[in-house]
């Protein structure tokens, strides 16, 4: 069976796996963004806090994903819970790092001006600082999404959702006619979806960046 025949006959399953893959990655990126921005906002004014937050999240990223899954399985069982936990943890570093970089890049005179016209501390943060830092945060989310696309494939080992299942099925059918087709469909599928998502980020950046700082 050629790759096209295989994809033609299994497209419903492949589409479902693709959808689950993207859906898991996007949802985990959103959760990680909420956590990461909160963490970034909490520490960006303290050099020691910033160093601690980035050191910790970058140490997490160093841990091989398969080892982290191994540590999570005895605690959280199989399926969605270890997958989501691992993906969110891995997505944190780029977002936290870029939130801190973005927020500390806001010029103090802008913040002073905002305070001067009577904005509250929260108003300055939400209406001035975070909006100026948004392009940097978005780049962090983009990096995280790209990483998660690959890591999510490994999560299929812990019965997680997505295209990783197709790859693992291919591996377990070594020698059968469809083994290569399955591994190929899963791998190429992840690459294509990652590129599509990357394009979405470019679009999202155009649409959500404040008019004043749009390039």
């Amino acid at each position: 069976m050629s790759l096209w025949d295989y994809v033609g006959s299994r497209w419903q399953q492949l589409l479902l796996d693709s959808w689950m893959h993207v859906s898991a990655v996007v949802q985990c990126t959103i959760v990680a963004t909420a956590l990461g921005v909160l963490l970034g906002v909490a520490v960006y004014r303290s050099p020691l806090g910033s160093a601690l937050a980035t050191a910790l999240t970058s140490a997490i990223l160093t841990i091989p994903s398969f080892a982290l899954l191994g540590l999570l399985i005895p605690v959280l069982g199989l399926g969605v819970r270890p997958t989501v936990t691992a993906l969110v943890l891995y997505a944190l570093l780029p977002i936290v790092r870029n939130t801190i970089v973005g927020l500390s890049g806001v010029s103090p005179s802008v913040v002073d001006a905002a305070r001067g016209i009577g904005m509250s501390r929260f108003g300055v943060l939400s209406r001035v600082e975070l909006r100026l830092a948004w392009p940097a945060i978005l780049v962090g989310m983009r990096v995280s999404t790209q990483m998660l696309m690959g890591i999510a494939a490994i999560a299929a080992y812990a019965k997680g959702p997505g295209l990783g299942n197709v790859i693992f099925s291919g591996l377990s059918r070594v020698g059968s006619a469809n083994a290569v087709n399955m591994a190929l469909a899963g791998t190429v599928g992840v690459v294509v979806l990652a590129l599509v998502l990357d394009g979405c980020y470019v679009l999202l950046g155009r649409l959500t960046t404040s008019r004043g700082i749009r390039g």
Partner: protein, 254 residues
């Protein structure tokens, strides 16, 4: 800011913190877990998998794979990166980077499985090649970035005092690019250790074997020891990479 994987924290303070704290935390946790595991009543299966010789064997396989990958990556990516920044090769650079970026988006597990299915072989080199391919990009990209960020005035000055193009490359451009290359190498090491954890899938050995055995035979002790060993090894290798970054850069830039 580049839109690709890097385990670098991007902050000097955070790096110093990691250089100091990381090995201590890792060794303490590792020692704790090993003491916990070996002080338990292990059954037959656990004893067969959790003994000094098995653990050392698997760790050595893991380290050997990582080192081999790192050597291949340096030998291929650095010369290739230098070549692509030469004037006559510059038009090809964006194409090579685009291909490499797309390759990076491929899941490592998919590359390993495909390589195994295509060749139909198992063994050390079948595990090394896809891993090296996967870890190549950070070093390649950083070599190119590192060399192209050298100020043109410095190159001009070098040529002005009579240095040949090769001498400018060897004595000005390359040394100034070394910090970037080392940062790329560190990322490559992290990717290599991570991918080496998966080569058990294609009978390539490594510490992933312990995690897999613990999971399949439902022995959480083996699973946890395997996972903690793998994580510790990755953090220690990353620490060595950080140390190299801090110590090996040209003295004038430190």
């Amino acid at each position: 800011m580049t839109a690709t994987f890097s385990a670098d924290s991007g902050s000097r303070r955070a790096e110093r913190l990691r250089l100091l704290a990381q090995p201590i935390v890792v060794l303490v946790v590792l020692a704790g877990v090993l003491v916990w595991a070996f002080s338990r009543d292990l059954d037959d299966i656990e004893k067969r998998n959790l003994n000094a010789s098995t653990i050392l064997d698997l760790t050595w396989q893991h380290v050997k794979l990582t080192i081999t990958v790192a050597v291949i990556v340096v030998l291929v990516a650095v010369p290739l990166g230098v070549l692509l920044t030469r004037r006559w090769a510059r038009p090809a650079a964006p194409i090579v980077l685009a291909v490499a970026n797309i390759g990076q988006a491929a899941p490592s597990v998919g590359l390993l499985v495909l390589f195994f299915l295509f060749t139909g072989h198992i063994g050390f080199w079948i595990a090394v090649l896809p891993t090296a391919l996967y870890a190549l990009l950070p070093v390649l990209r950083n070599t190119m970035v590192g060399i192209s960020q050298v100020e043109p005035t410095l190159i001009e000055a070098g040529r002005g005092i009579g240095m040949s193009a090769t001498a400018v490359l060897r004595r000005i451009e390359f040394p100034l690019a070394v910090p970037y290359i080392l940062a790329g190498l560190r990322t490559a090491l992290v990717l290599a250790v991570g991918t080496a954890t998966l080569v058990f899938l294609i009978s390539g050995g490594g510490l992933g074997v312990l995690i897999d055995t613990g999971y399949k035979l439902n022995r959480p002790t083996i699973l946890v020891v395997g996972a903690v060993l793998t994580a510790s090894l990755a953090l220690l290798i990353d620490w060595l990479g950080g140390l190299a970054e801090a110590l090996l850069g040209p003295r004038g830039l430190r």
